[in-house]
Amino acid sequence: MKATTEPALARPALDVEALRKQFPILARRVHDWPLVYLDSAASSQKPACVIEAIVDYYARYHSNVHRGVHTLSEEATSAYERARAKLRDFVRAASEREIVFVRGTTEAINLVAQAWARPRLLPGDEVLVTELEHHSNLVPWQMVCGQTGAVLVVAPIDARGDVIPDEFARRLSKRTRVVALAHVSNALGTVNPVAQFTRLAKQVGAIVVVDGAQAVPHLPVDVGALGCDFYAFSGHKMYAPTGIGALFGRLELLDAMEPWQGGGSMIRSVTFEKTTFAPAPERFEAGTPNIEGAIGLGVAIDWLQKLDLTAVHAHEADLVEYATSRLAEIPGVRLIGTARERAGLVSFVVGDVHAHDVGTILDGEGIAVRAGHHCAQPVMAHFDVPATVRASFAVHNDRDDVDRLVAGVRRVLEIFA
């Protein structure tokens, strides 16, 4: 047996300094300041390996996929499908056939709403969402409710920004067909107890759709352990390009769903009289896909897994805690969302200064944050604020970045004194 002096659970901490060098954009100066990028929850920056993989694809083997027998097409197809296999491993799906490439989380949720829910919901059926949801996990359900006569039901959050478990449970009934909830809230950082809520939803026979957009860059995800039926996420928030994302769906459900878009790639045979469709996942991937995006996403996954998402989570949890305590020291700063478990971000308001004014002043010092309602207007209404400032973290951020943010917030208060 190999002897070791290290404790069994020791994990390599992130070497942030080395990581920063992997992000070309961090060499930029903004308004004569070194860039502090605290807006990864909107879209993360890309490491050089992802950028290079896209260039390499276009320079060496670009071609359409699943068509043609020539060498380039074979190479492109194989890279595209390898990315699907990486996605399967990334979320611990049982089969590659459970991974559908989409444009992003929004398209993934619309796919489930239109292809699973729309033909199945009856008037009076219920779709349960939480008060935390991003508009992309709310509006598609409102639309499908309008189309079918189903009813949208909302599980409320408490003053900290946690979904109230009893209230959630009380809203489940035999009428509940779909439960749609975020894994991590984009506005507050709340980590929902997805496994626990899924178990409750399963007791009434509902399917569970999880918006994982804000979870995948920060936490290891295991769809089997969560027990959900669908899990949607975007590439661009996890160091991959924009315009690519994935929907995990349990194969049994995907196989029973009709296509939602028709076209090339998604068919088995076509005549004017009748068309038969390819099996999942191809039946949901009509048209030429985002090949460069899929390849970039595959590389981003390799890169993230090498960093180890448990280490990533620990690093970012430290930043969330540090930012929370530093910001709380500033008189007039009010943290919005103090859920028991949070990931990746802090949301706050500065006195009665509007978030956009805070955002502009921080930008003047090279600090990029998101200021606004974060496509979560019901959450803003809950906390009775029009907008918040959101600082969100990635692997390349460190405590110095938080210190710059804190100094910037103090400057805001100076200007508005």
């Binding site: 956009h356 502009t360 003047g364």
Partner: protein
């Protein structure tokens, strides 16, 4: 970048903290709602017109420093003006705030509103400065639909 003080000048901060002509106008002959969906700014503008002149102008709502100050300055600038003067002041103001920051701009025709010229350096914020004015145009035109900056 130009100093943030170009944007957040004392006059602007003063109008933000103590907006003038703030509140409903009971006898408004014209009114309109403005909304910036990007930041959630909501604005209601009330105008009382008699004999072709804006006898009173008031506003209500909440928004960022720039949109609040712009609305407040607007109410001061327009009181007593004819509707034609109001339209041409809007045109002159709009020209100033939408002229790219690397081009020269003449602010002589817009009086005190010139303090908002600094917004040119911040293209993302031009909508904040313009919201009250677009809402005014809607009020004068008698449009019922809320104005939006998007």
């Amino acid at each position: 970048m130009s100093d943030l003080r170009d944007l957040y000048q004392e006059v602007i901060l003063d109008h933000t903290k103590r907006p003038r002509n703030f509140g409903m106008l009971e006898h408004a002959t014209h009114r309109a709602q403005g909304h910036n969906p990007l930041c959630g700014d909501q604005l209601a503008l009330f105008v009382e017109i008699a004999d072709g002149r804006l006898r009173d102008v008031r506003f209500a709502g909440k928004g960022c420093a720039i949109s609040t100050a712009s609305a407040s300055l607007l109410t001061e600038a327009l009181k007593g003006k004819t509707t034609e003067e109001a339209h041409s002041l809007f045109a002159a103001f709009h020209r100033v705030v939408t002229t790219p920051s690397d081009e020269p701009v003449d602010v002589s025709g817009i009086g005190k509103l010139a303090v908002l010229a600094g917004v040119r350096e911040f293209p993302m914020r031009v909508k904040c400065a313009s919201l009250a004015w677009h809402t005014l145009e809607a009020a004068l035109a008698g449009r019922a639909d809320p104005v939006t900056t998007e």
